[in-house]
């Protein structure tokens, strides 16, 4: 009787330990740290074929569900305020927000919702999902890499990733002639999520 109770008790302790240690865990939800600006969506496009033009979207929010045991069951979602486009040039940004490019008055939001995640290595995965820009939704695939994660110094728990992809401007209804070298834009995303 005594040993049985002791056995049950120790199993409960082990079970609780496993749960809290995260070995037997459900997926966790992480909110992208846009408030502390440890999350970036940058773009890079050729200028005339001579150099790279860099810019970013300053305002967005997103979250991801991370299932470390079953990465395939993870998911990610981002909402971008397109008007926050910033290429460090007021008149160019105004042009980008206008009808020739994003037409933010009509299409203020862009967004990404993952539909499928495939693990491709220890720290890498392909994230496929629906990307919406200028009212057009198309599937795209991001090449994602896990950077690191753990307890932060302020009592929270964080995980960070980076990802890249390429988009054809024409695919999303942007056909302003920037020249043959500037038809594809490179996207670089780096996000840190705080466990909720």
């Amino acid at each position: 009787m005594k040993t049985k109770m002791g056995y049950a008790f120790s199993m409960a302790v082990i079970g609780a330990a496993l749960l809290t240690s995260g070995l037997v865990q459900a997926a966790d939800t992480y909110k992208m740290d846009t408030k502390g600006s440890h999350a970036f969506i940058q773009f890079k496009i050729q200028h005339l074929g001579f150099s790279w033009l860099l810019g970013r979207f300053n305002t967005f929010e997103g979250e991801f569900v991370l299932d470390e045991a079953n990465v395939e069951k993870s998911s990610v979602k981002v909402d971008i305020d397109v008007a926050s486009v910033d290429s460090n040039h007021a008149e160019r940004d105004k042009h980008l927000r206008g009808k020739d490019f994003f037409d933010v008055a009509k299409f203020p939001k862009a967004g990404f919702v993952s539909t499928k995640i495939e693990k491709t290595g220890d720290n890498t995965a392909k994230i496929t999902g629906d990307f919406t820009l200028k009212g057009i939704t198309k599937p795209i695939t991001l090449d994602a890499t896990y950077i690191g994660g753990g307890k932060d110094p302020w009592g929270g728990y964080r995980q960070g990733f980076e990802a890249t992809t390429q988009l054809k401007l024409k695919d999303f209804g942007i056909d302003y002639n920037l020249g043959p070298a500037s038809e594809v834009v490179n996207i670089y995303i780096s996000v840190e999520g705080i466990k909720q």
């Binding site: 926050s84 910033d86 460090n88 007021a90 008149e91 940004d93 927000r97 008055a105 920037l178």
Partner: protein, 182 residues
């Protein structure tokens, strides 16, 4: 000679008037044309630079016009009917207000992200405050509507002057073409 008299305009007012008219029409044409240029047009960068620089020149001219109006008031009104005088005053005041509002909005479009406004390749006007994207776009719309408003009023203004000249056969238009100052 320079200042206005009771019966006519002096040289300064006449020059200010016609120079303003010329620059206003030039800026309006260049402004509308330049925003439609394709990226590979040789004037894609050139015309906006000219538009900004000449815009600052016109802004200074308009400010001086306000000062000059105080220093040397306009000659006695020619209008015979009261409503004509009131209409003329309203149109003149609105045009002057737009001549001030247009460069102010233009300045805020250019400097919205902290970069100075270049005047003939010199960065003369630093940015004073940064605007949010939606504010910049709104200011841009004001600039466009203001420009159309000013040109619309200029057409009314010119039509009225021609009507005075050819229909009423009074000295309204002649007065702005001859120097009768003191």
């Amino acid at each position: 000679m320079l200042a206005n008299s009771e019966s006519g305009y002096g040289l300064v007012s006449v020059l200010l008037h016609w120079l303003s008219a010329l620059l206003t029409i030039l800026l309006f044409g260049v402004g509308l044309y330049m925003v439609g240029l394709s990226y590979y047009d040789p004037l894609y960068h050139e015309l906006p630079e000219w538009h900004k620089s000449l815009g600052v020149v016109l802004a200074l001219l308009s400010l001086f016009r306000l000062v000059w109006r105080v220093l040397s008031g306009p000659p006695a009104p020619l209008a015979e009917k009261r409503w004509q005088g009131a209409a003329a005053r309203l149109v003149h005041a609105t045009m002057l207000a737009l001549l001030i509002l247009l460069p102010v909005t233009g300045y805020f479009i250019v400097t919205a992200e902290g970069k100075p406004l270049m005047v003939f390749e010199l960065s003369l006007l630093p940015a004073l405050l940064e605007l949010a994207p939606n504010q910049t776009d709104m200011v841009g719309r004001w600039h466009l509507w203001g420009a159309w408003g000013l040109i619309g009023l200029a057409v009314v203004h010119a039509a009225a002057a021609l009507k005075h000249h050819f229909v009423d056969r009074d000295r309204t238009l002649i007065r702005m073409l001859t120097i009768k100052g003191q």
